[in-house]
Symmetry: none
Subunit: 189 residues, 4 copies
DNA sequence: AATGAATGAGTCTTCATTCAT
DNA sequence: CATGAATGAAGACTCATTCAT
């Protein structure tokens, strides 16, 4: 069924992304990824010649793209930068709720402990730059100067990553929901 | 006698904390920790009956305490909350430089992928609460209302964790150094 | 066109012969042979329907032929049997030097551990018989009786194979250079 | 039964020596050695921290020692050097018959294709030196000059290794039995 | 005549843990 | 209180081969 709709490679990437996000690069074995993907043992190295590391990079790319789409979406339909930032936080809070309060940032979960540390971190930097760049663009669109927009985007990125960390520890999306107020994007108490 | 300056247990905890911080819970094997601690193979289960999980909790506790001391120190000698926050960011940036731009937050590195997920996350929440509580206390000392102080403390925590993530990806402490300006604790450009 | 100067098949055989000689039948994977030959993945089974075993037989045949040519050459231009034997030993010593003191007898390296043990050993026996026969022929040409010639040829063969073994262990061609003296083909000290 | 009489380590070494001798270092998997030794999966790395390579070295050492004992024995009860050499060849021929005409030289089978090539070959050189040294000692005992004794010993070594190669190919111990005559240790036809 | 995607059994090794001493 | 030998499941990865095209 599922096998017919997505390619083996895609299922591999998708499941890897999900599992790495939950339990980290070293916390997930290839056997589990293969099993959940319904993929035969040997097929992984056909699609990813460098094995687990390649798969992790592909998974981070995919998850990073998804996230970027979410960010773009939040800001595209927003009335202001503050509005977009607030919407984004709430969207991520909702996703966090749906994941059972388990998932961390898909990129850091996947790329911050791998063996190929340097390549992994460079890739993470690229993906993060894409996110921040997207938000910066929207900031400019809403009238901010390029510098101010980048500062706001980076501040939002840091806030989100940090709120995510706290949310995981507390098993609650509340930190993500509090973030807009903490950053002044929303009228406070 | 043989246990020179630190006990076997302490060396175990210290090395575990350092290694987990660099490569994550699943990224470090007990063999390596034992070897670097010069501890005999079987001694781990004497000091930590529940094995690796116990050791990780102890390591996170120790590292969490160190961090709390750093935080307290930054604010104790500060002239204002903004000053304390700025000092703290710069201190952590310097530590990050010293670590070769490798180490992440010791608590999330250690406790966010373990098998004993629930116990690990509860412990992480406790440690984080301690950090935030410390900063909150100082905020009150500097004249903030309890609520405002807690908000500022939580905002600083999130910022730090997020800046840390970005710093690891970019292999630069700059995000940590930029943080005070981004949060308005320092006069910006 | 694409097959520059040698056919795919020939490149396969040549590279296989070289690699098997260095690291043995089981010590070399088909992937490496294919890669070094610039041959497409699936082409091996086109040229060698029985796969690795077929390739090994072809490689041993080719290498065996080369060796036989070297032997014939040494004796053809010789003034006596002793002279031919001495020349042969020195030639092989020089080849051994050129190989970086790595290569063993191409036939035994390739055919003494294969899965198809019986077929492999029969082929090795054939090739060895060819070598010994060649030297025997030259012995007769130099006036030896057929029986004496065969004895001398077999003795030389054994000496060479044994010297080769010692040479590999000592990473020096000296054993091969000492052989003529040890067998009385050259005036000793 | 067998388990009671020999230690796990010894059974591992013994079975490894036998299997490597038959099919070479890369031709035998650890799984088979473990199984035939009745040893649990994880126990190998307890006894041989460096894994297969360590085991191969131990196996070669053991087999090399056995061989040296056989050599010493042949010469100790001999009436002359020629007698000792002849006895040795016949003994090895008989062993070759008993092995089903399969086994090659235990040392070269085990140590000439391993990954740790340099360490392997150095060890092989040591073991061979021990063999040649033993025979040299007996040559001196029988009145040969040290130089002459060493030459005779080395010649015998090479002859034996070469005869072994031919014997494997021909699946017959005859080459080993012919060797004394070929080397002049026995009155010829 | 020729290919490259796909496969699953197999490779060696490391894992966290238990146990007898 | 302390240890190191012993364990089997799991780790990532490579293997020679098959097959549809």
């Amino acid at each position: 069924m599922t096998e017919a709709l997505t390619s083996t490679r895609d299922r591999l990437v998708l499941n890897a992304a999900r599992l790495f996000q939950q339990r980290g690069y070293h916390g997930v074995g290839l056997a589990e990824i293969l099993a959940e993907s319904g993929a035969p043992k040997g097929s992984l190295y056909h699609h990813f010649p460098n094995g687990k590391a390649d798969l992790a990079l592909a998974a981070a790319d995919w998850a990073g793209g998804e996230m970027q789409r979410i960010m773009a979406d939040a800001f595209e339909h927003a009335a202001s930068f503050d509005d977009g930032a607030t919407t984004l936080c709430f969207k991520l809070a909702k996703l966090f709720d749906l994941s059972g309060h388990r998932d961390g940032c898909p990129v850091s979960s996947t790329l911050f402990e791998g063996a190929a540390n340097d390549a992994f971190r460079d890739r993470a930097a690229e993906i993060f730059a894409g996110w921040i760049g997207t938000v910066t663009t929207h900031g400019v669109r809403f009238g901010l100067s390029p510098d101010a927009a980048e500062m706001m985007a980076e501040r939002l990125f840091m806030g989100l990553e940090g709120a995510w960390v706290l949310a995981r520890a507390q098993k609650t999306a509340e930190p993500l929901r509090r973030l807009p107020r903490l950053l002044g994007h929303m009228p406070g108490a």
